[in-house]
């Protein structure tokens, strides 16, 4: 089966210092209906990888090399106008902070409607009807369309963000730490919702997280990033239960388990540098 998204040898560095590789020859592929998790610690390059795909890298950074192919078309090198047609329409996005991603002075229904009007040209009754359908699909009663972000809980706001991201029935969803700011019970609900939507809409999902527990719950495939590189990639079962790379093993040893059976073992970086070399 043809891949939905293919990233090949993506390399990103600051424009001012091209020798400092923040993302270093990252390659992976994503198929429709599958979830790939990129997992890593802060500074590993996982968010920059996602931003590169969407063409949203900060100005101070540049993509030095690498191809990003989505549905057979190269994304890297598209003009901003062309990219606008992909972003939000064919690739949906959700970010960590549902508080800051929504405009506080506009009703949530209006904000979902903006996406629909911009990409699909909907208006009037058709627009209102579609907003209602989207809200109910993410588990919010349709009458909440008139609510403002401050009237919703954190979990509901993230549901609104999800409604916006799937508004145009995208082929792919990029979720960057979408549950990190949420309470654990709400997190479980949002993860279940995303998994359900992915299956129902046959989307490919690229899911960025630092939490191996979340990976275990949502991923089909996993890529572990460390210092800008993917050090290990494979099915979720292989990577979590039979990790091969010393960094993956060391990182898994740091994750406290809910059973309290496993002693915590911090990473010995001196040893790791030797082992990884």
């Amino acid at each position: 089966m043809a891949d939905l998204l293919r990233v090949e040898k993506l390399t990103v560095a600051p424009a001012a210092d091209a020798s400092r590789l923040l993302v270093n020859k990252v390659s992976f592929a994503l198929a429709a209906g599958r979830t790939t998790c990129i997992v890593g610690e802060s500074g590993s390059g996982k968010s920059l990888t996602a931003l590169s795909i969407m063409g949203l890298l900060p100005r101070a950074l540049q993509r030095l090399s690498g191809d990003i192919v989505f549905q057979g078309n190269a994304l890297a090198g598209l003009s901003n106008t062309q990219m606008c047609d992909v972003r939000g329409k064919r690739i949906g996005m959700i970010f960590q902070e549902p508080m800051t991603s929504l405009n506080p002075v506009l009703s949530v229904g209006y904000q979902i409607g903006e996406t629909l009007a911009a990409h699909l040209g909907l208006s009037g009754k058709a627009l209102q009807g579609r907003i209602a359908v989207l809200l109910e699909r993410v588990g919010i009663p349709a009458e909440r369309a008139n609510s403002y972000p401050d009237e919703l809980s954190g979990g509901q706001r993230q549901r609104v963000m999800i409604a916006m991201s799937i508004a145009c029935e995208p082929a792919m969803l990029i979720a960057d730490e979408p549950t990190t700011a949420l309470d654990v019970t709400v997190q479980a609900q949002i993860l279940a919702l995303l998994a359900e939507l992915k299956t129902r809409m046959n989307m490919g999902m690229l899911f960025i997280t630092h939490d191996f527990g979340v990976v275990a719950d949502i991923a089909d495939d996993v890529a572990v990033m460390f210092r800008g590189e993917i050090v290990e990639m494979g099915s979720v079962g292989d990577v979590l239960d039979r990790p091969q790379h010393p960094y993956t093993r060391a990182l898994l040893d740091c994750v406290p388990d809910a059973e309290g059976k496993k002693p915590l073992k911090p990473i010995d970086y001196a040893w790791l540098n030797g082992a990884a070399a």
Binding site: S42, G213, A216, D217, P256, D257, A258, E259, L264, P266
Partner: protein
């Protein structure tokens, strides 16, 4: 009663929250609703709950950093509310706190040696030379060095800053340390280091911890006892092993079932 180093009974704290479109209305929020907990010497009591459950209010009220509406806090048998200002300050030497955000809780204009030594100055402990020696010994215990004394907080990583925060709390040789989400801002590899450091220092210095956290995986590792809070009330408390294996309340069951990756790690 003296089985406990710190105990609280019937704590109640109500906030007024503005409501309505322009904040003209007001709601009463019960942040603490008849909360009672007790901490055994040398043990760790974790208070877990989701945001808004009242766990951080509990931490501040226990240390008398915030006035209570009702209830009593006993530290080594003394009612903290009955102490004079001077006596309370003296008692605080033994009741220290480690905060969540190692970026916000360290004064960026002070050198690390001064940050860690400030408590010793305030409590009038030792002369300059003794204080310096104490600060140095404490920094070394948390994995920092003499060189770090002259540096400023921004020169350190998040994990190192949390070590500084721990050194600042422990240099006073407290008996009780309230840790408010001390590892939630840290990467998982750094989190493991800090948790092990806290455990080691607890053994060496005979500390009692009140550990506030929303992360049930972390709590499972650090705590002896757990109190589960929901909407200002303690809904369930007990030993870590017992509560995780046989949660009685539906809310606790729901929390435990929501731990990400539970099925993977149980396998």
């Amino acid at each position: 009663m003296n089985d406990f180093i710190l105990s609280a009974s019937g704590l109640t704290k109500t906030y007024k929250q503005r409501s309505g479109r322009f904040g003209f209305g007001s709601n009463l929020i019960k942040a603490l609703d008849d909360v009672s907990i007790a901490l055994k010497p040398g043990a760790t009591l974790a208070v877990v709950g989701e945001s808004g459950s009242g766990k951080s209010t509990l931490a501040r009220c226990l240390l008398q950093l915030q006035p209570l509406d009702a209830g009593q806090v006993l530290f080594e048998g003394h009612d903290l509310a009955a102490l004079s200002g001077q006596e309370l300050r003296a008692a605080r030497r033994h009741l220290q706190m480690v905060f969540q955000d190692p970026f916000a809780s360290l004064n960026p204009r002070m050198k690390v040696g001064d940050i860690v030594g400030e408590g010793l100055v305030i409590h009038g402990l030792g002369d300059a030379e003794e204080r310096r020696a104490k600060v140095l010994r404490m920094l070394e215990r948390v994995g920092l060095s003499a060189l770090d004394m002259g540096k400023y907080p921004h020169e350190f990583s998040g994990g190192q800053r949390q070590r500084i925060g721990i050194a600042r709390a422990l240099v006073l040789e407290p008996r009780v340390v309230v840790c408010d989400e001390p590892v939630s801002a840290l990467d998982v590899s750094i989190q493991a280091q800090i948790l092990l450091l806290l455990k080691q220092l607890q053994r060496e210095m005979g500390l009692s911890y009140l550990f506030i956290s929303h992360d049930l995986r972390v709590v499972r590792h650090i705590a002896d006892e757990v109190a589960v809070m929901q909407r200002g009330r303690v809904v369930e408390q007990g030993s870590v092993e017992g509560l995780y294996a046989h949660p009685r309340e539906e809310y606790t069951q729901n929390l435990l079932n929501s731990i990400p990756g539970r099925h993977w790690q149980a396998a």
